[in-house]
């Protein structure tokens, strides 16, 4: 509700901030180029799954950080800290449910995105490396799902992780080492929970952020593939 003079001050301030970054990083040209780049005509609604996956990732980032404020990764406290989040925290049920639902939708969207790229043969040269980062992103997203499944420490978490670790143990040569690495001991215990937590909230988020950066830079540089 500022008057004409107030608007003038605001405008000058923003222009000043814009000039500051423009002089140092050539920001206006970069933003203008991005805003004005053309999206080819053959792009239809099938091309939206990648973007949806990215928004899912952002939702997971925000809700995940909120959950991490209260979640406690120990055998004693994990389940009760989830109860605490759901019973006592404002919007606790909503935030946790949002995290769990978005996780499922994110995996579905990654799969749909991959299928779209595969059947359009958009993986073909010169975009092999972007397909490669995409496949890695798929495996990371699924690993997010597997590691996050244990964290509430309910019956499903416990037994699904037990079965999952037994399946990975039957891999030839490296199986037993992988199981030992996952569990941090002979059975699911505190060591397992802290490992899964570290994987879920540190290792995977850092990795996925780097790979998403590469994925987007390559799309920007190479453009969207021509239709078949």
């Amino acid at each position: 509700m500022a008057g004409a003079e107030g608007n003038g001050i605001m405008k000058r301030m923003w222009t000043g901030v814009g000039d500051f970054f423009d002089e140092r990083f050539d920001m206006r040209r970069v933003i203008k180029e991005f805003a004005e780049h053309n999206v080819p005509d053959h792009v239809n609604w099938l091309y939206c799954f990648g973007g949806i996956t990215f928004l899912c990732f952002l939702i997971q980032l925000v809700t995940g950080i909120l959950l991490a404020f209260y979640y406690q990764p120990t055998m004693d406290q994990a389940y009760s800290s989830i109860l605490h989040i759901m019973d006592d925290m404002p919007f606790g049920v909503f935030i946790r449910s949002l995290h769990a639902w978005t996780a499922n939708i994110m995996i579905l969207m990654v799969i749909l995105h991959m299928l779209r790229v595969f059947f359009h043969a958009a993986y073909r040269p010169p975009r092999e490396l972007n397909w490669l980062t995409g496949v890695l992103l798929f495996f990371i997203t699924v690993t997010f799902g597997f590691s996050g499944y244990l964290l509430p420490m309910n019956q499903l978490s416990y037994w699904a992780t037990k079965v999952g670790s037994e399946i990975s143990a039957s891999m030839p040569f490296i199986g037993p080492s992988i199981q030992a690495f996952l569990l941090g001991g002979a059975k699911i215990a505190d060591a397992t929970l802290t490992r899964f937590y570290a994987i879920h909230v540190v290792i995977l988020p850092v990795t996925i952020t780097i790979l998403l950066g590469l994925h987007f830079l390559m799309v920007r540089k190479q453009g969207i593939a021509d239709p078949l």
Binding site: V43, C48, I82, S97, V135, V142
Partner: protein
Amino acid sequence: MSNNNQIDSSHEQEGGVPFFPDHFLKEAAVMALLLATVAFLASLMPMPVGEPADALKTPLGIKPEWYFMTVYQILKYVPRNIGVTFTFLIFPPFMMLFPFFYKSVICKWKYGRLTLHTVGALGVITAIFFTMLAYLGFE
């Protein structure tokens, strides 16, 4: 960010719509729809906490998440070490690397890409089939 290399400029010459505001608005609408969907699901179907973990009480019918269901179900029919070797050691490198052989191998044969895509489609159908079997409770 992007200077005009051949790949970029070929698209810019063909026309299309500017990213902002044309494409951006479509994208924004899809994003709003996603936010509405997850907010709707989280509000009306909140995730239950379930029973606390009990190492001494094996629950009946342990089922993994839906995206692991295909592998879980197939492992009931094939020897475990073969299934696991394929899932973890053969399938991932193949998926990651096949585009590098697109020109040198796949397109050497007239029907190479058609074959590859048919294999992909059969893979999708197989995955859906075994997921359904799992949910219908086939052992």
